[in-house]
Every structure is written in C-alpha cells, then in structure tokens.
C-alpha cells in the first residue's frame, strides 16, 4: 500500500512526556563518541554553565523518534517500514537539553511527495519543556520505496 498523500498536515501527540536522565545522556554520549565531561559529570556541566549534564547535539532524536513512531505506524499514513530509507535530518535547538528536563513532543507531517516510485514523508517534531517553552525542532525526511 502506498503512502497516503492526504496524511499531510496531520499532527500527533503530545503523548507521555519524556524524562531526560543523566544515565541516558551518558549512554547516548558513549554511543556517538561524544567525549566532553559535561555529558557525564554534573560538576563539569555546571562549570560550563549548565544546570546538569548536557545532551549531545543529536540526543533529541531519542525523543523525536518516539514521537515519529506514531506517524510510521499509523495505518492511514501507510509507511511500509521495511522499505524506508532515512533521507535527511535537521535539529534546531532553542536551548540545550539537560538532565532533569521533562519533554513533551508534538509531531507534524509537514510534507508528503510522491515521485518516480518513491514517496518522501517529512515530519517535524516540536519538543517543549514542562513550562511549555520550545526546546528543539527536529525535522526528518523518510524515503519510502513504493515499487514491488
């Protein structure tokens, strides 16, 4: 089943908020070879001006992809995940993410384009903190092969 172009403009969430922990930041920093002590040690992070350990640049993907899951599993959107290739990704940080943040995410389907047997689905996840202030915007495009 091809991707449904009428799904453009849909929004999902916010669902259950994501609680950012020191352990998860450390785990992610280790996974992407991010070596600054400010990702691991609260004292080092405070010395750099942060309230607690600070997340690596692309950590927001952990939160965004949980929200995007609602898009790719929505049968009315029709993404066949076995045919998906990640086309592009962009993070715009309104402020850095730190341990202790409680993040709520709303994800929007901004654009669906169908061309030459490929559909591209562009989503925009808006991450906000517990006070409702913007934290990060994560834009992601998936390319889905429609041919058999």
């Amino acid at each position: 089943m091809p991707v449904n172009p009428d799904a453009e403009g849909r929004s999902y969430g916010p669902h259950e908020p994501y609680e950012v922990t020191r352990v998860k930041i450390r785990e992610f920093a280790n996974a992407v070879d991010a070596n600054s002590f400010a990702h691991f040690n609260p004292e080092a992070a405070r010395a750099e001006g942060y309230d607690d350990v600070v997340a690596p640049t692309t950590f927001a993907v952990v939160i965004a992809q949980r929200a995007e899951f609602h898009v790719v599993t929505d049968p009315e959107v029709g993404v066949d995940f076995s045919r998906v290739v990640h086309a592009d990704e962009r993070f715009t940080h309104h402020r850095p993410i730190v341990a202790g943040d409680v993040i709520s995410t709303t994800v929007h389907i901004d654009k669906i384009i169908q061309r030459g047997g490929i559909s591209t689905v562009t989503t925009r996840a808006e991450l906000a903190d517990a006070d409702g202030n913007p934290v990060s915007t994560v834009i992601s495009t998936l390319a889905v092969r429609e041919d058999a």
């Binding site: 998860k24 785990e27 992610f28 280790n30 996974a31 992407v32 070879d33 991010a34 070596n35 600054s36 400010a38 990702h39 992070a45 010395a47 750099e48 001006g49 942060y50 600070v54 997340a55 690596p56 640049t57 692309t58 993907v61 952990v62 992809q65 949980r66 995940f81 076995s82 045919r83 290739v85 990640h86 086309a87 592009d88 990704e89 962009r90 993070f91 715009t92 940080h93 402020r95 850095p96 834009i139």
Partner: protein, 143 residues
C-alpha cells in the same frame, strides 16, 4: 548554549579545519547505538534482514554517523553549543562482521557572520573514498 564555554570567533577563517576524527564502526558500535537511541531496526544488526531488503549487508544507523559528526564539531565548539545541525544521507556505511568500517570526519569553517558572530561548520564523512553524508552543516554561536 552557555556563554561560559563559547569558542572564539576572532581568528577563524573560512576553509580552516577545526576538528578531524577517524572512527571505527563495528557491530558492537551499532548495537550500542541501537540501545542508546531506541532504534532497533534489524537492518542495523541482522545480516539476513539486511539482505532481504536489498542492502549489501548490515549498515550503520544514519543517525550514528550524523551523531558522531556532531561530536566532532562539539569537540571544537564545546558541549551544547551547536544550535542547528543538519545533513542529508547519501550512502550507507556497510559494517562487516568481523571487522570495522572506518569513517573519516573533517569539520571545516564553511561561512562566518561577523555581525552575529556565528560560524557555519561544514562536516564531511568519508567511507571507502566516498562521502556518506552531504550538506552537513552546523551553526555555532561564538564569543
């Protein structure tokens, strides 16, 4: 961004290399990233599934390559100082077993805005002589 740890704008020149890194991706690296990110797509650890969907083998998460590229920029910019980071994914990084895929990252000053004191850092990621990321740009506010 925190004012305490911003990189210095003065002295930066377009074309200047600010950081480089050579990273070995192994199956262990991929499993570690899968766990840390929550992306458990089996094409990143299961040879059979990778072949079934037409890939030359198990491939690295694009976001692992992008995340590592960000770490290379951060090494110069300081933690938490990359305000905007984007890339397109051009080619997959095939990760053998046993063995490793070696990816070479280079971060270069792409553009400077003296009024805003921001630097655009362009990153290349090369695997087997080809670029795996394109239009990889980080925006960093400097002191």
């Amino acid at each position: 961004m925190s004012d305490e740890n911003l990189p210095s704008f003065d002295g930066l020149e377009v074309g200047q290399v600010v950081a480089t890194r050579e990273v070995e991706f192994t199956r262990d690296t991929l499993v570690r990233y899968a766990g840390a990110s929550g992306d458990f797509n089996p094409i990143h650890y299961n040879d059979l599934v990778a072949e079934q969907v037409g890939l030359p083998g198990v491939i690295a998460h694009g976001m692992l390559t992008m995340g590592t590229a960000a770490s290379v920029v951060e090494e110069w910019a300081g933690p938490g100082n990359v305000q905007d980071f984007q890339t397109r994914f051009a080619r997959p990084v095939v990760v053998p077993n046993p063995g490793a895929a070696v990816v070479t990252f280079t971060a270069t000053v792409g553009a400077l805005d003296p009024e805003l004191r921001t630097a655009r850092i362009d990153v290349t990621a090369e695997f087997e002589g080809a670029k795996v990321l394109i239009k990889t740009q980080a925006l960093v506010t400097c002191a």
